[in-house]
């Protein structure tokens, strides 16, 4: 479960519990106080009516039914009188008498006025019994049905409110997590940008003043790392640059030795050949290192006829140019870098794959195929790392004049364009290098 869901759930449950408790409490309070109020009103009315009846009964030959009729009653309030074991009522409802509990009757018969709440035929009543003279008993039955309906409406309203509160709680939780997580989202976005190569991506300290410490330390970390990367890069560039001058001297001097190899004795000639070859390799190594150190320089995009470039590179390396197949010939890319990709892929295929059998130029995608032994699955990622050679390459390392940087340059140039390089098995055997250059 995500943090967001958890916080939202906690807020919702909390809000529900709180509002449910509040609702229950207020329901109970309202219910008790209204019922008591109603009961007191019923008692007052009953006492009043009982006093009227008592006065009227004191007259000669009183007509009980007539007396009862003269009382002010309502639909909800029934009045009964028991006199000499005969029940008098305004209506001929037998059920009314049975609604009066016997305990109440006993108490009234013993001359004690009583009140009791009962439920008769599913209807709530307040029964008030008042003893009159001569064993006559006055009863008043007050219906609480209306009050009951009020209570169920109240319960409904309170339940709805509780549910709404829970919903509001959930919404609040969601909002709260969003605002709490927003800075974290920003940190995540910034990290992604840094990983994608924008190494100087900073967080805006003004955006989240509460998180000034996080923002500050994040930005410091970014600067620190970027500086370190920059220092390393500059060091590699400086070292390579400083090597250029002595290398130029060596290259020139070695070429003299090379020219004169015929006039040297055998051992000196062999040594001279080694020097010439190694100076040449050293020169390429330094150039490749400088290329790599330049990796994050901004692109210089121009219109480039990649097909013509590929043909030319093949021709200059003794590869028949008809291996080049192009769908889209002109790309808007950094010329030097795309040339670097092609040169290194073709050279790689020549050195380790017996020469490229196909160079395909698609929609911002380069594919170079060879019929060599291919790259083992476990080497397919590391082969693009610096100074890593595939198994085939290291087997031949003694005879190899590679710098070990070619494929890492391919990957770096592709990455500079926002693309990537990969290698897979060619279906017919061999390796298939695929480079996306957006």
């Amino acid at each position: 479960m995500t943090l967001r869901t958890r916080v939202t759930a906690v807020f919702a449950v909390g809000a529900l519990l709180l509002s449910a408790v509040m609702a229950l409490l207020s329901y109970q309070l309202v219910r008790v106080s209204l019922t008591e109020e109603r009961e007191r009103a019923a008692v007052r009315a009953a006492y009043y009516n009982a006093s009227v009846v008592r006065a009227d009964l004191a007259a000669d030959a009183p007509d009980v039914a007539e007396i009862l009729r003269s009382l002010e009653t309502t639909e909800n309030r029934q009045v009964l009188v028991q006199r000499d074991d005969v029940w008098y009522s305004r209506t001929a409802d037998e059920g009314q008498t049975s609604a009066i509990p016997s305990a109440l009757r006993d108490r009234v018969r013993d001359g004690e006025a009583s009140v009791q709440r009962v439920r008769a035929g599913g209807r709530p009543l307040v029964v008030v019994g008042v003893p009159l003279a001569d064993g006559t008993a006055f009863y008043e039955l007050d219906s609480l049905a209306e009050l009951e309906r009020t209570f169920s409406t109240l319960a409904l309203v309170l339940t709805a409110v509780a549910l709404l509160t829970a919903l509001a709680g959930a919404a609040l939780g969601r909002y709260a997590t969003r605002s709490v997580l927003r800075p974290l989202t920003r940190v995540a976005e910034a990290s992604e940008q840094i990983a994608a190569g924008q190494v100087r991506t900073h967080l805006d300290p003004a955006a989240e003043p509460d998180l000034a410490r996080l923002t500050g330390s994040f930005n410091r970390m970014v600067d620190e790392l970027a500086d370190r990367v920059e220092r390393d890069r500059r060091f590699a560039a400086d070292v390579s640059h400083e090597l250029k001058s002595p290398l130029q001297t060596l290259a020139a001097a070695a070429s003299v030795l090379h020219r004169r190899a015929a006039s040297l004795d055998e051992r000196s000639a062999a040594a001279a050949t080694l020097v010439v070859e190694e100076v040449d390799r050293f020169g390429r190594l330094v150039n490749d290192l400088l290329e790599l150190a330049r990796g994050d320089r901004p692109l210089e995009r121009t219109e480039v006829d990649v097909e013509a470039m590929a043909r030319e590179i093949c021709r200059s390396r003794g590869v028949p140019p008809d291996v080049v197949h192009a769908d889209a010939a002109t790309w808007f890319v950094d010329r030097r870098r795309v040339e670097g990709i092609l040169v290194n892929l073709v050279d790689n295929a020549v050195k380790y794959g017996g020469g490229p059998v196909a160079v395909r130029i698609g929609d911002h995608e380069l594919v170079v195929e060879d019929e060599g032994p291919g790259i083992r699955p476990e080497d397919r990622e590391t082969v693009f790392h610096r100074f890593v050679r595939g198994h085939t390459a290291s087997d031949r390392a003694t005879g190899s004049d590679g710098t070990g940087l070619g494929l890492s340059l391919v990957a770096a140039h592709a990455a500079a364009h926002g693309g990537a390089a990969s290698v897979e098995d060619r279906p017919e055997g061999g390796a298939l290098f695929r480079v996306r250059v957006p």
Binding site: S245, A253, R259, E312, S316, R335, E339
Partner: protein
């Protein structure tokens, strides 16, 4: 025997280059500063000049500009600096070509030979072209704008002739590299910078070229 002047302040590089170039059949002379190089070139002009950019005193850029005031000798920059800005500045100062150290001697020699060949061969056998007020006489090696002579380096002159010979047609940067510089693969910035320099000299308003126009995505075209 073709002669080369090497202006390079690093004694070892200069010595090694002189040795190697002599071995390759050049008559090579060296100078440790731009001032000395300019003096030597005035006294006994070489066929090609190699210039390093980082020199004590007058630097390589200034040396090329100074040289260009009086001389259209082919100039090849051999420098450790490889930033686009340096390359463009050197070419704009009047260099014909640019290579980055360490350059293999065989490549250096190939470039020197190409520069010399271009300088020696006539740019075109055609008699003359006129484009509005611009007149080109290849045989005489003359260009005039509104009857006033225009001083072009040999590379600029060849570039102009190549474009004139194909007047009205678009030539890609690659084609120009192959035809003018004789490079199969090369830095297309060479073409752009030289076209820019050429415009400065032959266009009435270089920022709104009338004759030498850019055709976006394709190349350059010369028209009347």
């Amino acid at each position: 025997m073709p002669s080369v002047l090497v202006i390079e302040d690093d004694d070892r590089i200069r010595l090694a280059l002189l040795l190697a170039l002599e071995e390759e059949g050049f008559e090579a002379d060296g100078a440790g500063t731009a001032e000395e190089g300019l003096r030597r070139q005035r006294r006994s002009p070489a066929d090609v000049v190699i210039v390093d950019l980082m020199l004590p005193g007058l630097d390589g850029f200034d040396a090329i500009r100074e040289l260009r005031r009086t001389d259209d000798v082919p100039v090849l920059v051999v420098s450790a600096r490889d930033a686009t800005q340096d390359i463009v500045t050197a070419l704009e100062a009047g260099a014909d070509d640019y290579v980055v150290k360490p350059v293999p001697i065989l490549e250096l020699v190939a470039r020197l030979r190409a520069l010399r060949r271009r300088a020696a061969a006539p740019a075109s056998t055609a008699a003359a072209w006129t484009f509005g007020e611009l007149a080109i006489r290849p045989e005489a090696g003359e260009v005039t704008l509104a009857d006033r002579p225009v001083a072009l380096t040999r590379t600029e002159f060849r570039l102009l002739c190549e474009l004139a010979e194909n007047a009205g047609r678009v030539l890609s940067r690659r084609q120009l590299l192959q035809q003018v510089w004789e490079y199969e693969i090369g830095d297309e910035r060479l073409v752009d910078v030289h076209v820019g320099r050429l415009r400065q000299k032959i266009e009435p308003d270089p920022r709104r070229p009338r004759h030498l126009v850019t055709v976006r995505g394709m190349g350059y075209k010369l028209s009347g």
